[in-house]
Symmetry: C2
Subunit: 143 residues, 2 copies
Amino acid sequence: MKMDQTPLYSIGTVARMLEVSVYTLRMYEREGLVIPRRAESNQRLYSQSDVDRLKCIRTAITELKFSIPAIKTIYSLIPCWDIVKCSESDRSNCAAYSGHSLPCWTYRHKKNTCAERDCRTCTVYTLSADCGSIKQMIQSSRK
Amino acid sequence: MKMDQTPLYSIGTVARMLEVSVYTLRMYEREGLVIPRRAESNQRLYSQSDVDRLKCIRTAITELKFSIPAIKTIYSLIPCWDIVKCSESDRSNCAAYSGHSLPCWTYRHKKNTCAERDCRTCTVYTLSADCGSIKQMIQSSRK
DNA sequence: TAGGCCTGATATTTGTAATTGTCAATAAAT
DNA sequence: ATTTATTGACAATTACAAATATCAGGCCTA
């Protein structure tokens, strides 16, 4: 699984690549399913990893018949606390740890180890660009 | 969370309790979301725990807007291997361990510790009758 | 400079999952 | 004994999420 984070493609380019409209891509971002970078001009720039992730999401919606809220919930089950090795106190201050309907990267973390992180480069986010990986993350987690 | 497994209610009774049709309840069973017991006459008998579980499923569908395939996938993420403490060899013989689209209790297990179990009484199944419990099960799992 | 992109709110279309209904035969209930 | 509820399988319906399309005003870039 290549994992190229380089900001490359414009929204229109990605729309053609995935055969969806730009409106749809903006909606996926609004829903927190993907976090493309921005150019200085504020235009979205998607990486190859973003495109892979979006392919994943498209398959989930069109073939597996998942709804968007369900996809968000599935992302929220990734054992991020284990992956980023956050402390007990980090966890008690973490809405993502207690919640189970939104991906961790959709929260504004303030008081824990994720506060300074860029979620785009966090393993929790990048690994989940690979479709089948979420159960594997659960399986390899330890307390 | 009470967890009464006593077979009590007919399908019509449950349909009135949850305000759905009996057809819907049969479909949920066909999809593997619930496994009601049967009377000797082959008629379905639902326990209170079954009803709780179905309430959960109804909330997921009507309020959280989950699709049925997504609910099945979420069930499939429960760390059953940890909960039933199955061995390495059990896991390699287990379609549920490698799969990520169907709840473990929908498989016919033949060669592992689950082969002789009745899934209706297995913690993996019974605990998931409580709506918010799946993430907690992931959180308390260890390698 | 023409075409692509931005925000953000609102409206419309559409595909299909979820639900309900029908059937005849059998079982349970009163 | 008659009614009511159950069974599975198949057909029909409906409700609504996902996707697309608007709008306007302004910026960006190829």
